[in-house]
């Protein structure tokens, strides 16, 4: 098995060598000679300011963000990821069918992408803004409709395929002057020694000496390369190797739920995000542009294997059924009598409260394979220790319910680069724990709060129990009819407010 891996990594190396050479030698004249060599040759280790383990969306966003700040754009950055796509300049073709892996990007993330110069690349590819969102449940008791204009916004968000986000960030990072090098491999070990400042003076100041004195972290890769860095950033996802090697503990649980995701096609264009809570979990239908939509359907593992294997026709029927009369009636305002029961809180009826319930457009075709993923919640107890910081899913994996996961990760990347920049401004060693803890203090409360909100939603909807259904309906009506509440829910989900509702 190991041998197979090694061979595979070797072939990646071969492919990657060509495209990346101009990128590291020509495009980055400031690059010091010690980093200019081919990493794959390397028996001798190179030294970097920052090693980003994981060149996914969040890792590349960090690189872009560093490149966009005057104080950090000359940092030497190593990106470690075995994904061969990182070696290609344009790995997306316009005519490709949509990738079923999509992200719902909040307005806050959109402005982050604009700041780091990556949004222009997203705009060249398929993406879909939506300005309406309808949420309802199977009991027929409740629905809520959100409109961007309720919060005086243009859009509620934008659905973008993950590969579009990744390639946009990659295109952006390639055109920046940030000295960077991609290592097409995986992390195998990491070591950081404690500070030793009171030992005898070592005049050599070699990397080994700096490492021995705890001033550099040492990373060893599966392809035999090794490198040193002042700061190691774990952006390597939910099963983070950095998190494991740094010994961070996590708290979390698995939901006994899987999500089926796939791309579907309609007859008409869809500009609304739809989410219906079904007895087994939520079903979301997100517009991704060109008459395509993305489906994220949460259900029990047993159901998911069933829905994965049934024929396309049956699956489409099941989806249309679930988005229409399946499991329960359409909600009508009169059922709960919003005019009576909720009249006391009608101080400010929101503008879209009168938007009637609509049925989502019919799904006519399956445009991708169906994939199933187990859902879990995981949160690292610490985000930072000496010379190590975790960002994105490595720090927190959330329920994908409201498409918030990757937005939290982009928030991490933005904050971490800003903290590093502040540190450089005052001459701090960027791997110092006191600096990195600032990042943790900034992000942890925000992330924990969003995780709790999403987990609460998940829990509230995984029970089918009469009184609870009424309560849920009441909450829905509140969310639908009280305009300030509605506004703050939208703001929170847009990533613009740190704490929901009460902030």
């Amino acid at each position: 098995m190991n041998r197979i891996f090694a061979t595979k990594a070797g072939s990646d190396v071969y492919r990657l060598r060509i495209p990346w050479r101009p990128f590291s030698n020509d495009a980055a004249p400031l690059l010091s000679s010690q980093n200019a060599g081919n990493p794959e040759k390397g028996s001798e280790a190179k030294q970097y300011d920052i090693a980003i383990v994981g060149g996914g969306m969040v890792g590349l966003a960090l690189a872009c963000s560093l490149a966009s700040r005057p104080l950090t754009r000359h940092l030497n950055v190593a990106i470690i990821d075995s994904n061969p796509a990182l070696g290609r300049k344009h790995f997306i073709k316009k005519e490709d069918l949509p990738d079923p892996r999509v992200s719902t990007i909040t307005p806050a993330t959109i402005s982050f992408f604009k700041d780091i110069g990556a949004w222009q690349f997203v705009e060249q590819h398929r993406h879909a803004y939506f300005d309406k969102m309808q949420v309802w449940d199977y009991t027929g008791l409740s629905y809520a409709k959100y409109n961007a204009r309720d919060a005086d916004k243009e859009v509620l968000g934008c659905v973008v395929e993950n590969k579009v986000l990744l390639s946009s960030l990659l295109s952006r990072v390639q055109e920046t002057v940030l000295p960077k090098k991609i290592y097409p491999s995986r992390l195998s070990s990491m070591s950081i020694l404690p500070n030793s400042s009171s030992s005898e003076v070592d005049s050599t100041l070699s990397m080994t000496a700096l490492f021995t004195h705890g001033r550099l972290a040492k990373l060893e890769l599966e392809d035999g390369n090794s490198l040193y860095a002042k700061l190691v950033v774990g952006a390597d996802g939910g099963k983070s190797r950095v998190r494991e090697l740094a010994g961070f503990r996590t708290t979390g649980w698995n939901y006994s739920q899987n999500a089926i995701i796939c791309t579907v096609e309609h007859d008409v264009e869809n500009h609304c995000a739809w989410q219906r809570f079904l007895p087994s979990g939520p079903l979301a239908l997100l517009p991704i542009g060109d008459k395509f939509s993305n489906i994220v359907w949460t259900m029990s593992p047993k159901e998911s294997s069933e829905f994965k294997s049934i024929t396309e026709d049956n699956f489409l029927k099941a989806v249309n059924h679930a988005l229409d009369y399946g499991y329960g009636p359409h909600p009508t305002p009169s059922i709960l009598g919003s005019s009576d029961l909720f009249s006391w809180l009608k101080g400010g009826i929101s503008k879209s409260a009168n938007d009637c319930f609509e049925t989502p457009p019919k799904v006519v075709k399956l445009a991708s394979e169906r994939m199933a993923f187990p859902l879990s919640l995981r949160h690292a107890n610490d985000y930072a220790s000496k010379r190590v910081a975790l960002i994105g899913d490595a720090a927190h994996t959330v329920h994908p319910l409201a498409g918030q996961g990757v937005n939290l990760g982009f928030g991490d990347a933005s904050t971490l680069s800003s903290v590093i920049s502040e540190g450089i401004a005052v001459g701090t060693d960027i791997g110092e724990v006191s600096l990195l803890k600032k990042y943790e203090a900034d992000r942890k409360p925000a992330n924990v709060m969003m995780m709790a909100v999403l987990d609460g939603f998940q829990k509230a909807y995984s029970v089918d129990f009469g009184p609870l259904n009424i309560l849920r309906a009441a909450a829905f009506h509140g969310a639908h009819h009280i305009s300030p509440l509605k506004k703050s829910i939208i703001s929170y989900a847009s990533g613009e407010m740190r704490l929901p509702l009460f902030a």
Binding site: P70, L71, T72, H74, N195, S197, S198, S199, E200, V201, D202, S203, L205, A209, L210, H213, R215, E422, G423, I424, A425, V426, G427, T428, D429, E432, V433, S434, K438, A441
Partner: protein
């Protein structure tokens, strides 16, 4: 009230006989930690050269004090150790230095190393926690401290990073460097002046070390009701963090007094700012409130 206690709790120093009070002590809860000794009053022979160890300074300290600070000196660089409050405050002091000195020397504040080519001196450098960041910001830094152990720690630590290994550390005093006619573009003495016997003489030395059109930066604790309440009443009597009589509140300088003695020494104070501590976030920030901790930046008059 809570916040003012935090403001002042960091740096109470032992009362020493007045003739020895150029010894400076920094203290962080719960115990007191001497930091450095500096000042013009040392009885040093005129022939001393700049790298000579100032043997007179440590000898002017009481033996138990010496043992105490030696024991703690190793923890200078432990950001979670006894010097934690100072580590926390450091970025704020450096932010002030960065913004005022960038303006003074007309350097690009968006550069990672704006002070390239400038000579700075850190008077009373302790373990070097100010000298190292200044070096990373590009300055050519000389750190002086009269306590040899501090200089040793500073030297060892700076040697661990090629960038900071260029720092010139000497166990000496400002006055001796004046005798050697050394000049610096910026003379920085943070939390030192309240510990010298004669602040006016000390300011004269700082001024003499400042090159033509150079900058002088001094920070200290105000002699205000608030600092009295937090430093003496709360820290010594109510909370008993410190032995009674630890502080010589009367030796603190008010911003007006500092401005005046700097003026007499030829340094024109241009800007002043306060440091405030937020106990909820645990962070320091710059503010207009100069009632407890403050920092002043001045330029040398022609």
């Amino acid at each position: 009230m809570a916040s003012s206690m935090f403001l002042a709790q960091r740096r109470w120093f032992h009362s020493l006989p007045r003739n020895l009070s150029n010894a400076r002590f920094f203290s962080a809860l719960p115990s007191q930690h001497p930091v450095s000794v500096s000042g013009p009053q040392n009885n040093v022979g005129p022939k001393s050269n700049k790298f000579e160890k100032a043997s007179s300074a440590p000898s002017s300290l009481k033996e138990p004090e010496l043992a105490k600070f030696s024991a703690i000196a190793d923890t200078w660089w432990d950001s979670e150790g006894p010097f934690k409050p100072l580590h926390k405050m450091n970025p704020t002091r450096l932010a002030f230095l960065r913004s005022t000195l960038c303006r003074h020397f007309r350097k690009d504040p968006l550069s990672a190393r704006p002070f390239e080519g400038l000579r700075f001196i850190d008077v009373g450098c302790g373990g070097g926690i100010l000298s190292e960041p200044l070096t990373r910001m590009g300055a050519t830094v000389t750190g002086i401290d009269a306590i040899e152990k501090n200089i040793k720690i500073a030297r060892l630590h700076a040697n661990l990073d090629p960038t900071t290994s260029t720092i010139e550390y000497c166990c000496t005093t400002a006055e001796k460097l004046v005798e050697e006619q050394r000049k610096f573009d910026a003379v920085i003495a943070l939390e030192v002046i309240e510990h010298v016997a004669d602040a006016a003489e000390f300011c004269k030395s700082l001024s003499a070390l400042t090159a033509h059109e150079g900058a002088t930066v001094v920070s200290t604790i105000n002699r205000s009701m608030r600092s009295y309440a937090t430093a003496i009443v709360a820290a010594e009597y109510l909370l008993q963090w410190l032995p009674k009589g630890t502080h010589q509140w009367s030796s603190f300088l008010t911003p007006e007094e500092l401005t005046m003695i700097l003026k007499r020494a030829g340094v024109d104070v241009k800007e002043m700012a306060g440091f405030v501590y937020n106990p909820l976030t645990g962070r320091w920030s710059l503010s207009d409130d100069i009632s407890v901790n403050f920092i002043a930046y001045g330029t040398k008059e022609k």
